[in-house]
Amino acid sequence: MNMSYHQARWARGDRLEPLVFELSSKDRKGIRLPQKLPARPEIPDELIRDSLELPELSEPEVVRHYTRLSQMNYGVDLVFYPIGSCTMKYNPKICDELAALEEAAFIHPDQDEDTVQGALELMYRLEHFLSEIGGVSRVCLHPSAGAHGELLGMLLTRAYHSSRGEDRSDVIIPDSAHGTNFASGAMAGFHVVIIPSNNRGRVDLEALKAAVSDRTAALMLTNPNTLGLFEDEILEIAEVVHEAGGLLYYDGANMNGVLGKVRPGDMGFDIVHFNLHKTFSTPHGGGGPGAGPVGVVQKLEKFLPVPTVEYDRKRRRYYLDYDRPESVGKIRSFYGNFGVLVKAYVYIMMMGPAGLREVGETAVLNANYVMRKMADVRGFEVKFNGPCKHEVVFSAEPLKRETGVTARDVAKRLLDYGMHAPTYYFPPIVPEALMVEPTETETKEELDRFVLAMRAIAEEARSDPEKLRRAPTRTAIERLDEVKASREPILSWRMYKNRAKL
């Protein structure tokens, strides 16, 4: 493979781009404010601050600094981003443009309902779209992210059992689940019961049956699971839990693998969570903002957070309903990440029903194609037989046994081939795991390039393993001393200056 690629790199002395504080020069300013009005606020002297240290730069300098920083950053618009369970698909630009319209961005949540009917209508429609896609009866758009949605799911579960006078303490979660699942259960005060996967990589029904009891509040599951495998015994699983009186919670991280083909609500889930920044293509933004709406079956509707968006047929207007006595209350301020909701709405309108189904089908085809092509690359193996869904987990154990290089080394070297690394060491039940989710927006050519790169890296591992251990070398910066970073933390400019003094 032609290796003339190198990530953009701005460098000056012993750092890449200097810190913005280091570019500061007295009296420079990057924003001009309007004139203030003639009035003197009466703030007592003891409450007035004496000094503030912020950098002083003009607008061109600020723009240049952050633009340079942006160049030293991978994004889906630049490279293939096969991070498992993250669904890094292309983000349509029309979504960003419409979300930035004045009528969307410059409205206040406390405005009189008559002045924001458009916003309420959009949210109402989006709720209905998601209800249909998820197979549930009602959706709440409040949660800001996956983990936030999980917390809501747990609160709804508690409210439900409480309302029936039942004290249920256990939440069952498979060992392959995302770490936030366990944390959300514990945060809501539940006792987390972890069940192992069987030798087919799916939920062990025997273990599940042993785990359920009259203390079972819920089972948290993602389907397809984190190994990219469909839980084909889902109907039995649902029955076991429902019979014990528990609820089923769906973690929507992997919805891309079943979009338009089967709905979580139809699988038996009572609470269905969606990741708009994954399945519905809103941009990840370097870690947020996202949105994690949660849908429920009818019997749980009354517990949803306030306010809900309702439509008054008689007066032909949308309104916010706070009069919900059994609601769990609020899990965040206002009504959700509206700026993100608009983008998801536009995405769904652009795709249409056939388009969404094609998303599901192509995502799965692409992943199976990668799995098939990787079968010819010596050094990686797939632990479980049969077709995968939208993601596939490889184990780099054979390569490790042969050459000593780890999954992390392989992933770091992939950065040198102009691609982002897949997730590694997750799920923990696969040794030297590499979790690959190509998504439906990648071309066959790019997938072929990925396989070629993995083959080349495996060869390098055999002939010159140091190359992998030193990787990456064609990125803006080489491997950082993460141990030192945690042992001697420098977490702010202040701390950095204090260090320099020593």
Binding site: G179, V193, I195, P196, E206, A211, G404, Y425, F426, R487
Partner: protein, 369 residues
């Protein structure tokens, strides 16, 4: 300048290749050599030492002469200090113990040994918990938790322990009955707990880390156990560091690490008891057994805690058994096992049981025979 004690057991692992299980005892060793066995340990030693090469200037190797360490160290470019002289070709377990004793006296920071369970046991008998030890596996019997997964990893961990500093945890030292082992029966006993450097897997780029620090996990388990304890109930604590953490959470610092203790009402009622004493104490009191899996085989009953006999288990009741284990511990065993001596009871204990792995966290683990 850090000091690294190096002990290579040259005959460890020689039995395996030729189908013999272990090389303890002169006769077995002679048979092995006759069957064409070649020494395995020296290669493992150099594999480990290669990963220490980059810290050569920061570490002084203190070792035995000839094939028990000096040869391998020199081959890897070190200039070791010989602290114990052996007769080449005629080394024994006594040499291992002698060397370990001298290293302890000399104040080494770590003893890196290349060998099997027997070597680990020999060294532990001399240094106890006073000197951290770390094993590079080169034996057939490698059940002790004092070993790194590979010789290379042992070298890497040793290097990091000596230069950067790593946390230290307690790992089981198993004493395998050699005779029984050769007759295909695994009867291991818990010898004690050695101090071993612990390198947590660093997974910055993975979405979530799955292994944490053992000690913190033990404390979390202990905290929950204590939350659940009822007054008026007797708690039978099996051996191990996790059950010890439970006792310490109650403010009891003199529980026995290798024995079975009885606790009630947050007080230590009896220490290091046998079966009879247990049965007497729980005659008319409801009781709960708290045990931890022992050894890489994962025995919750039958190894190291035979005092908790079938009679005790039946008296207490299956429902009142709580198994505790850190996630790290569980990651080293595939299933749990029982060997109560009562085959019917063993059968009844099969299936999935909840194991407490953290605060408000249990994991369903399979129990097999």
């Amino acid at each position: 300048m850090k000091k690294l004690g190096l002990i290579v057991n040259p005959i460890a692992g020689m039995g395996g290749r030729v189908g013999l299980k272990g090389t303890d005892g002169r006769d077995v060793l002679r048979r092995a050599i006759m069957l064409g066995a070649r020494p395995v340990a020296p290669d493992r030693a150099t594999a480990a030492l290669k990963n220490l090469a980059q810290v050569k200037n920061l570490v002084l190797i203190v070792t035995c002469s000839h094939e028990m360490g000096e040869d391998e160290a020199r081959m890897c470019g070190f200039d070791p200090q010989v602290i114990h002289h052996v007769r080449s070709g005629e080394t024994t377990a006594a040499d291992t113990k002698e060397a370990a004793y001298k290293m302890k006296r000399d104040g080494v920071d770590l003893i890196l040994f290349v060998g099997g369970d027997g070597t680990a046991r020999d060294i532990y008998e001399v240094v106890g918990g006073d000197v951290p030890i770390l094993g590079a596996p080169a034996g057939v019997k490698v059940y002790s938790a004092t070993f790194a997964n590979t010789p290379e990893l042992a070298g890497i961990v040793a290097a990091r322990f000596l230069t950067e500093g790593l946390p230290v945890r307690e790992a089981e030292v198993m004493d395998i009955d050699e005779e029984a082992f050769r007759k295909n029966r695994l009867m291991s006993e818990l010898k004690g707990y050695a101090k071993v450097p612990y390198e947590p897997v660093m997974m910055q780029a993975a979405k979530e880390s799955s292994t944490g620090f053992d000690l913190a996990d033990q404390k979390a388990i202990a905290r929950w156990m204590v939350d659940l304890m009822e007054r008026g109930r007797m708690y039978i604590l099996g051996p191990g560091t996790t059950t010890r953490a439970v006792a310490e959470e109650l403010g009891i610092y003199n529980s026995s690490l290798l024995g079975v203790d009885l606790i009630m009402g947050h007080k230590l009622v009896a220490r290091d008891v046998n079966e009879c004493q247990i049965l007497k104490k729980i005659e008319n009191i409801p009781a709960t057994i708290i045990v931890s899996p022992i050894g890489k085989q994962g025995f919750i009953f039958g190894r190291g805690n035979q005092q908790i006999s079938a009679r005790v288990i039946r008296k207490v009741g299956k429902k009142n058994i709580m198994v505790v284990a850190t996630p790290h511990k569980l990651s080293t065993i595939s299933t749990l096992r029982v060997d109560t001596g009562d085959p019917e009871l063993d059968d009844e204990l099969q299936g999935y049981i909840p194991v407490v792995v953290g605060y408000l966290q249990t994991k369903m683990v399979k129990v097999t025979k």
